[in-house]
Symmetry: C2
Subunit: 478 residues, 2 copies
């Protein structure tokens, strides 16, 4: 922690290849997974250097000229993606050495994670040879990199728009799901790394990199196993001291730990020891991918809570009662509002189905003017630290209003202004939609909100849990 | 419990009015909540008797002739919905008595739940007068009834297609949300009752009714308060002995209990005492509306589990590891498959990214033939009680297949056949969609599945939790 970060972290070259070759692209169309999947993803995100394909017989695939061997490519190749069977990797590596390649990403699986001793030996031999030749390996058994600023994508649908969240993930699927779920809620990424078995470059290397990376402000991680415990512990402590850090560590149960070993040859290690490390390091340990996304949203948009006191605002008595239970159970407080606040609220509310104590259950909020008239006194209340507004689409009186988009925009603008004026975070929970139209409206509102700096969650319980996580994180770092 | 159920339960007349009058419909258009909301809902679901409106001055609203007073209506009125202010309810009740009305549903709020002693007294006076005159009251402060077979709806979007699930709910919003979330997952209702303050007819009355109702096979309840504890306890025990029963009881925390009092004037009571009652009665206590929906789906489609052993099948190593953790944490088992089962699976699987131990992480399942070839050996494995298949739309290789609808239909047909042939339940988890197209596909697949008798859940964790709840319920009733 005494070391100062270098201007350009040592591993930076890994994330900025100028040219890529892919070995193992199927000549058959329609096989979207494996090598061909990477071609599609790189083309879609607009990788700006040349993409070379290696195929033993095909003259061209998808219009891209094929080379029988890597060494046949006339130009410099920085980065190679391998989708060939495991037994062909050693040969490909030799070609990489000859060609002066700097990074080999092994999508190829079938090594240590099979549990077969021969295949584990094969993996070790490949690593030893790569080390000797100075080539860095990502994988095997992984999806590699998503780096918007370098126009690298590991899957389709990944935006080229960059942002401050970096991710280290032992699973490509979980990396992809994190990106997919976090994107519509305003999370943009600096670097996302899926590293699989981590035979050469490991979680600790990538954590160190993200800690030093000036483009990364928030770090999230999905880990299955513990490789080189003391080094990983150092990297977690260093990252946790420098930046907000959340870790989803699977293999916390016996069945999960067995599955982790099948998946990435991981030794899950003791959940207790890992918990203790996280507490020490000021790293937030979470238990699901949804929670990891929610925490990223909270680090990004809520940033800091002054205390545990939430005011809950929205239409619907039943939802209010359950919200109070959920927030209280999460470790937050839902205190009664002071008389002065209740008096201010009484001016904009009506009798039926209304409570102005906290939770606020007001049908009058369907009216634009009363919306701000209800939320502003709540946000400025002296005994309140954060406002939770909940709503939904496709149901209730809101479903029958004309111009839903205009209404969303006006509500968002009110929320933005109240957040700014009160200096307290506003968070929004939009309950799950059930119709196509409501789904579209939910997504539109979500986008308006995060573009105005407001955190949004898919349920009151998840918003509450995320806020409680932020408080827990703040306390760990006190 | 020794009493035999009467052929027609005593309260049956409440659920089958032949004509309805609504007092308090606004003459202004566009005010969709309150009295006018009931007009819309009743018209939409196709209520078959006449709907009369009561308004002091308007000649007609929405084309329906208005009467200045209930007593001006020339025909018989069975059921009156009141949306007038609380101070006018006593007068309306006198008219109901004169007119021979049998049931008065008070949507009207502003009684005991306000915490005002005068208003509590007003509620008591109304109840005393109604009892004396033999009129039954639903409410005050509630949404009333949704009865598909009688074409009664409390909100828009409620289907006229009936089914075996009955619900008692102190909150109209939570009743509406239950129906809204349960409907696309195959839950159809017999009777749904929102009863608010429960000043006359209470949870115990409605539970007794559903226990005796031949159209109701499964009962779910949302309760905020305990009214007449010993009677409620008897009703819960009677219902739990007769039918699968799940209860969401809010007010389990201090904040929730305060909110329940503001909402429906409820005394939440001790969470521990209520828990003990549920255990005794064989009633499953749940903690969220989502869990209540999941339990209804599980009672309806899974029905019974032979034991805790789950095989998890689907593409994606990271999801498999998290699934194993989630299921283990929920109290289920994810045992390694026997050698004979693994050998059968080895015939249809390939090397890369695959595990055939359990969870099964097989990319080959994207192929139709291998889909059944993978799932059938899993379902018939001697050490397995239930199959959990997980998938998603809009991501991964599946997103690129032509004819997604045909593929869904073939997968559903395979799952149906395997469930039938193996005699073991198959459940499906479809992870949350993020695009409009994926949302539509998710809903289509969901509908195909439940129409073929297969339970479907929005995440692996929720499926696991629901299966564990079913096991817990089975053990309570042993």
């Amino acid at each position: 922690m005494t070391s100062t970060a270098p201007a350009v972290p040592a591993l930076d070259f890994v994330f900025h290849p100028r040219s890529i070759a892919i070995a193992g692209v199927s000549a058959r169309e329609g096989m979207g997974f494996g090598g061909g999947g990477f071609v599609t993803s790189l083309q879609e995100i607009g990788f700006q250097g040349p993409i070379y394909l290696i195929h033993p017989t095909a003259p061209a695939i998808r219009g891209l000229k094929c080379y029988a061997r890597l060494t046949d490519i006339p130009d410099q190749v920085d980065y190679v993606i391998s989708s060939v069977p495991a037994r062909h990797v050693a040969g490909l590596l030799e070609d990489c050495i000859t060609k002066g390649v700097r990074v080999l990403h092994l999508f190829t699986a079938g090594f240590t994670e099979t549990g077969d001793a021969e295949r584990a030996k094969m993996e070790q031999a490949v690593i030893a040879r790569a080390r000797q030749a100075g080539i860095r390996l990502i994988g095997p058994n992984c999806m590699g990199l998503y780096v918007p600023s370098a126009r690298l994508a590991m899957m389709q649908g990944q935006t080229a728009s960059p942002g401050p969240v970096g991710m280290v993930s032992q699973s490509g699927m979980n990396a992809g799901e994190f990106v997919r779920y976090a994107m519509p809620r305003g999370i943009r990424c600096s670097k996302v790394i899926s590293f699989g078995n981590g035979a050469d470059l490991k979680a600790a290397d990538f954590l160190d990199y993200l800690t030093d990376d000036p483009e990364t402000e928030i770090i999230v991680a999905y880990l299955e196993g513990i490789q080189d415990g003391p080094r990983l512990a150092r990297a977690v402590r260093r990252a946790g001291a420098a930046k907000p850090l959340a870790i989803l560590k699977s293999g916390r149960t016996e069945a999960g730990s067995r599955a982790a070993s099948s998946h990435t040859a991981s030794l899950a290690g003791s959940a207790k020891v890992f918990d203790a490390l996280c507490r020490q390091a000021g790293a937030l340990r979470v238990e699901s991918l949804e929670e990891l996304v929610d925490v990223a949203v909270t680090f990004r948009f809520v940033k800091h809570l002054g205390g545990p006191n939430v005011v809950v605002v929205g239409g619907g008595g039943g939802a209010s009662v359950l919200a109070a239970d959920d927030l209280d159970a999460a470790g937050l407080e839902v205190p009664p509002l002071l008389n002065e606040t209740q008096e201010a609220l009484a001016k904009v509310t009506q009798e039926a189905g209304t409570s102005i104590r906290n939770p606020i259950d007001s049908m009058n909020m369907w009216d634009d003017k009363n919306f701000e008239g209800t939320l502003l006194p709540c946000a400025t209340a002296p005994n309140i630290d954060v406002v939770l507004y909940h709503t939904s689409f496709g149901m209730g009186p809101g479903a029958r209003f004309a111009d839903p988009r205009g209404r969303m925009a006006r509500q968002t603008e009110s929320l933005r202004r109240i957040q700014e004026e009160s200096g307290k975070p506003i968070v929004v929970a939009i309950r799950a939609p059930t119709t196509d139209e409501a789904f579209q409206q939910t997504n539109e509102m979500q986008e308006m909100l995060w573009r105005n700096g407001i955190a949004v969650y898919p349920s009151i319980a998840r918003a509450g849990h995320a806020l409680a996580n932020l408080l827990r994180w703040q306390r760990m770092r006190q």
